[in-house]
Structure formats: C-alpha cells, structure tokens
C-alpha cells in the first residue's frame, strides 16, 4: 500500500525529469505563474505559525521545508 503510494507520487516526478520538453512555459507565458498567490509558499507567515502549532501537537514535522528543532514544545 505504502509502496504503491510512493510510486504514484514519484511517477509525476519521473515524468517531470524525463519529459521536460513537453512541460513548462516560455518566459512570456508567465503572467499567472508570476502572481504571488501562485508561489509555492504564498503565505510564509501563515506557514511558520502553522508549522509551530502542528510541530508541537503532532508527531510529524517538515516535508515542505526543514522540520528542525527550534523549540521545546515537543
């Protein structure tokens, strides 16, 4: 089950690496991608606050960024 899940997740990665020619945009097609809300960390302050909450309340951390130490809350 877990292995299958990992496979499903990495298939797009493999496609991404091997099929670059068919993916992506030209520089003049970045009008939407250039918007702040299309950035991968569109609200860094929210992310930092959320990370702190979930780090101290659950057994997982990191993934999107560093899971790190930094507080005595867990």
């Amino acid at each position: 089950m877990i292995k299958e899940m990992k496979l499903v997740l990495f298939i797009p990665l493999i496609i991404g690496v091997t099929g670059c020619a068919s993916l992506g945009v030209e520089p003049w097609e970045r009008d939407l991608l250039a918007k702040d809300e299309m950035s991968l960390n569109a609200a860094p302050v929210d992310s930092a606050l959320d990370d702190h909450i979930y780090f101290s309340k659950e057994a997982s951390s990191g993934g999107k960024g560093f899971g790190g130490g930094g507080c005595g809350c867990n």
Binding site: I2, M5, K6, L9, F10, P12, L13, G16, V17, C20, L23, G24, V25, E26, P27, E29, R30, D31, L32, L33, K35, D36, E37, M38, L40, A42, A43, P44, V45, D46, A48, L49, H52, I53, Y54, K57, E58, A59, S60, S61, G62, G63, K64, G65, F66, G67, G68, G69, G70, C71, G72, C73, N74
Partner: protein, 461 residues
C-alpha cells in the same frame, strides 16, 4: 464545541495587491529603524524621509498575531515581525522576530480514574489534584519564547541560487541554535529547479525540576516535610540535557503549464539526544486479574529512545483557474519509531474583486492528518509486568486523526497595504491502537478529543 469551532475566521497577506506608489510614514520610520539597527548606509538617506528614497531602499514588512486556544487546556499567543529587503542584484535579506507566550493545562500522560488523583508538580514543590473521571492535566505550564531568524539569498552563478541562514530561539527552560544552507539550480528556461538543503540545530533543555530518572516513581506526599527535597532529588539524574537535529532536504520544482506548478520534496531528519518529555508520566495500573484492575498503583516518568530518524516525501501542486487558485499538498512521513503519517493540506483562494468596495479575497482551508502510534507508545502500564525498554503515554505519539477547517479573508487597505484575518477550528481525535483496558479503565475516557481555535491577524506593508 464543534459549532463554536466552525464559526471561525482567518487573516493573511495579499502581496499581489501591493501598491508600491504609496508609502506611509510608518514604513519610512521602520525603514530608518531597521537600517539603523543594521548599521547600513541607508540611514542618512532614509532619514530625510524622501518618499522616493524609501522606495529605492524598499523593505517589505509583515506583522502577524496569532491566538491559539484549546478548550480547557493550553492557550498561546504568538507574534511575528518579518522584514525582507531585495537588493538590486537579486540578493534578498530576510529578518524575522517571533515572540510567543503559552499558558494553561497540558496532559501529563496519566489515565483518568474513577477517583480523585494527586500528582506532584514538575518542579517538585506542590501538588495538584484531578477530579474523578477527568484526564490528568498539569496546569503549571507557562512559557515565553523569543526567536530570531536571519536568511540571506543570492544568485551565485547563472541559474544557481544559494541561501544561508541562522536561527536562535530562547525560552525560560530551552535554548535552540540553528544554521541552514540551500543551493538551487534552474534549468529548461527556469521551468525546472533542483534544490538541496541542510539544516542543523543544537538544543539545550533545562527543565523546571531537572531531568527525571527514566521509569522512576513520581514522589507524592507532603512537600513541606524536611526530607522531601532529598527524596525528590533521588528521582532526578541532572539539571539539563541536549539534542541535535540534522535535516537534509532535496526538492524538485516543475512548471507544468501556464496555470500549474508542482513541487516534490524528500527529507531525511536525524534527531539525537534527549527526546524524552521530562514532564510526562505513565500510569501503572492493576492487571486484569487484580482486585485493583485498572486502578493506578504508581506513576512513573516516561522514557524514549535517544535517537529518531524521520523521512518524508511531500508533493504540492498549485493550479490557477480563471480567477481562483487551488493549492493542494500531500505528505507521507515515516520514522524508526514506527510512526507513519499522512497529511493533506488544501487552500482555495477566491478573489472577490471589489465586491465590498475594496479588492479582497476569501480562502477556505482544509487540513487532514492521520498518524499511527510509536512502537513504545503505551497509554498505561500493567503493575507487576516487566518494564519495556522505552515507554511513553504522550497522546501526541499515539494513534490519532486530526482535521482543521478555516477561512481567511484578505483585503487591500489604504496605501496599498494588505490586511487579512484567519479563523480556524482544529480537532484532535486520539484513537485506541488496540490496548485492552483492565477493570475500571473501561469506564473512563482514555482518548479524549481536543478542540482548538486558531485566530490570526496579519498586516503587510
């Protein structure tokens, strides 16, 4: 409880709405202050408060205040002040100050009982009692934390960007120092990016009352007796301990088309040192055949392994519809404590146009999280049975499902600044990972749900 939680609202930053042509005096003043603190040459120029000069040396500021409150348990307030300056050659300096304060009651690890229970405070001075049927909560938790982060990012060669940062965090009983570094490589017209990063943290923990001896019994009695301090000291092995955390993060980002971008990360994290929670205990209860079946006979301090290796994969996609933006991510984490977890996080940003006289948006948020228990998680131990090598009754490493629902509302206010509000409801539902409950434990709630409200205001200028 649920109804209260669902009535949530939320706040964040709308960078896209920024109007750089208008700057206010507060920004000029902060620019001067920041420049002065850093000792940069901007000071003299900014001091003249020429609006044009401030623009030329523009800093972006984000300020946020978050309130977190659990029903009948912990409440916390956290404030962030974030300053970012982009220099002409794409060098970016980011400085962040975080201050938080926490107070309230926290589960001590013991199980509820059909009778009143008495526990000793972590400091060793004084006791607290828990009513029959209630989950034992220690209400002595108070802490204030100050954290500073600095990050410098710059291009180092065509298509290569490097970043480095430092971190310091200080609490009453905790000190954390950290460094991090990251290198990113863009290719295929910058549609693809590989990145590799590391971070290292060195933490020192000096808990109130010292470090308890693993599995020693909590001393309970009259703390004013002359021999109390000596007896309490016998349950301690020192005043402080340390841990280190080393993280490696590999990432790949791919632009799919004009509307879609995806990211994949793999992370490997090694934590070594003191990973036990010195404030947590485990109830030792009478066995199935005992006349005291399920009745607490003793409370012993928990013990966890001194290392943990966590790994995770993370995938995220953003899709721009005609107007709205969907941001969805999934994380799978596994570690050598046999904990696995799934996290799905999604946000859907809907612009409202000028519907309320100002440019604004709403953003519903949904998060789902599920974890399995650590192999040494035990909600209680049986009296007379052999002690395991490690054991913890901390529900946070037990089997659990949580979800968060929230709403954020953001708007462009005067001078092109962004104001946002966020209100969320968070529920933790610990579940039974298959432990048979002897005697009286069948009649109490060993896995109580926890409800919390998260409220946040953010102002960016």
């Amino acid at each position: 409880m649920v109804a209260r939680g669902l009535a949530v609202v939320d706040v964040v930053v709308i960078n896209t709405m920024k109007n750089k042509t208008e700057k206010t005096n507060i920004k000029a003043a902060l620019t001067i202050a920041t420049a002065a603190l850093l000792g940069t040459s901007n000071f003299t120029k900014a001091e003249t408060t020429s609006i044009a000069n401030v623009e030329e040396n523009a800093w972006e500021f984000d300020s946020a205040f978050l309130f977190y409150s659990e029903a009948d348990r912990v409440s916390a307030g956290e404030a962030i002040f974030n300053a970012t300056k982009t220099f002409t050659d794409e060098e970016v300096l980011n400085l962040k100050l975080t201050v938080d304060a926490l107070t309230g009651a926290s589960a001590n690890g013991g199980v509820a009982q059909p009778n009143v229970q008495t526990f000793t405070r972590p400091s060793g001075s004084g006791q607290y009692t828990i009513a029959a049927g209630d989950t034992p909560l220690d209400d002595t938790f108070h802490d204030t934390r100050v954290q500073l982060n600095g990050q410098w990012t710059q291009p180092i060669a065509p298509n290569y960007t490097a970043s480095g940062g430092v971190h310091i965090s200080k609490e009453y009983d905790y000190l954390s120092l950290g460094v991090n570094g990251n290198l990113a490589f863009d290719f295929d017209r910058k549609n693809s990016t590989f990145s590799a990063g590391f971070s290292y943290f060195q933490d020192k923990f000096t808990p109130e009352g010292g470090i308890p001896k693993a599995f020693s019994s909590m001393l309970i009695g009259d703390s004013s007796l002359p021999n109390w301090d000596d007896e309490f000291a016998k349950t301690r092995i020192g005043s402080e301990d340390t841990k280190t955390t080393t993280d490696i993060l590999l990432g790949f980002t791919q632009v799919i088309n004009r509307r879609m971008i995806t990211q994949f990360n793999y992370s490997y994290s090694m934590v070594d040192g003191y990973l036990t929670d010195p404030f947590k205990i485990i109830s030792v209860v009478g066995g199935f055949n005992s006349i005291d079946a399920g009745v607490a006979q003793d409370y012993i301090y928990e013990s966890r392994p001194d290392s943990r290796i966590k790994q995770s994969i993370y995938a995220q996609s953003l899709y721009h519809f005609d107007k709205s933006v969907l941001d969805i991510s999934y994380r799978y984490m596994w570690d050598d404590w046999q904990i696995t977890s799934h996290t799905i996080d999604s946000r859907f940003r809907i612009p409202l146009g000028d519907a309320f006289g100002r440019e604004s948006y709403i953003q519903p948020h949904f998060r789902f999280y599920q974890q399995s228990a650590a192999e040494f998680y035990k909600p209680f131990l049986i009296d007379g049975a052999a002690l395991p090598t490690y054991a913890s009754a901390d529900y946070r490493i037990g089997e659990m499902t949580t979800f968060t629902v929230g709403l954020k509302y953001g708007l462009l206010v005067n001078n092109g600044h962004d104001l946002s509000f966020r209100l969320e409801y968070y529920r933790q539902t610990p579940t039974d990972a298959g432990f048979d409950e002897p005697g009286v434990l069948k009649g109490v709630d060993l896995y109580p749900t926890i409800d919390a409200i998260i409220a946040q205001v953010t102002y960016s200028f």
